[in-house]
Symmetry: C2
DNA sequence: TATTTAAACTAACAAGTGTTAGTTTTTTTA
DNA sequence: TAAAAAAACTAACACTTGTTAGTTTAAATA
């Protein structure tokens, strides 16, 4: 359990380094230095560099999948579902922006678990697409290109990790509602 | 001039590889193999790996800066200016999605020219911010958080490179206008 | 056709890579 | 306090990295 703590420290430190330079450019010696130990000592706590990436990415991906299930099983209407998804993203990005960076930029360096990640990701996307289509069918959303709407929302939400760390002391509810206003209501008068 | 052609071939091939795995994970031997030659032969045409990255990123960054100047010097209104910027992004992303990937994901691996790139990028952002503020002041845009509006638009436009290659035979005008509709007009009825 | 130039090659370098083995030090537990 | 466990260490490995030097082949020019 001390190991578990130390392991998390390593993973969190790694995530920070990955955010700055990307998985490939971060060496085990970089990571060790950031932890104040030697590279070989890292292996008392983690199995491999690859395993660190897996921990970071798969945990977040499964957190998103879980959040999506909650939304899908709710009786919210289309707009409310989209608002819930926006809040899910703000919340996770706020809690772990470094991990989100790795998920967005380094997933292609996953080995064994790459396909699993891609499966979760694709499933997540189809679920949002389904919600948008439903909204258009029920006349809750304008009849726009589903692809363009999906792309626009998801691009913004996926980039949150870049933006959130700049704001100190973030109010998740406030940002979520501001984002919903812009993404759903548009900006022109 | 034969050299110039060969050099461009190398740079374009590199951009494709960078898009898939990122700058750090692509080796000169990978690049050589993709070109059908040996790694050492690359150096008859390019100065270094770093120089390839510079060519890719700085060219695009300057193209954006140029496009922004045209927009700023025009007498378009706020909405039209934003539409012009959207079209600028769609056009560049469509013409060079691999380069856009490198610009978005590998700029931090620039060495000498990193600061120059960041300067162009920051200037570009402030210009959009200025247009949004002007729009709010002139009552052409809703009175929303400038930061959130800027972030939402820019995130979407910066992610275009991920989405465009999937669509074959893209109509730049059509996508630009669809995007404008969603980003500016919103999606709810 | 002879010569220059462009573009490929082989061989090698110094430095850096993730990781393992074996050992010592520090901390926790009995 | 003695024993056990955790966490650090040094040293080394096999391999990969970007790049250079020197050479050979192919193409363009005179």
């Amino acid at each position: 359990m001390t190991t578990e703590t130390r392991k998390s420290e390593i993973i969190n430190t790694a995530a920070k380094l990955f955010k700055h330079k990307g998985y490939s450019a971060v060496t085990m010696r970089d990571l060790a230095q950031a932890m104040g130990i030697k590279a070989a000592s890292l292996y008392n706590h983690i199995e491999s560099k690859q395993a660190i990436l897996e921990y970071i990415i798969i945990n977040i991906a499964e957190e998103f999948t879980l959040g999506m299930q909650t939304v899908l099983n709710s009786d919210l209407n289309t707009i409310q579902k989209l608002e819930a998804i926006i809040k899910l993203h703000v919340s996770i990005a706020n809690q772990n922006p470094e991990g989100m960076a790795a998920l967005n930029n380094d997933w292609m360096h996953l080995e064994e678990r790459r396909d699993y990640y891609l499966e979760l990701r694709q499933q997540y996307e189809s679920n949002i697409r389904f919600i948008i289509d439903e909204g258009i069918a029920k006349n809750n959303l304008k009849n726009l290109s589903t692809d363009v709407v999906l792309f626009s929302i998801l691009s913004t939400l996926r980039s949150l990790y870049l933006w959130i760390p700049k704001k100190d002391q973030l109010d998740v509810n406030e940002l979520s509602s501001d984002l919903s206003e812009v993404l759903i209501g548009g900006i022109n008068k």
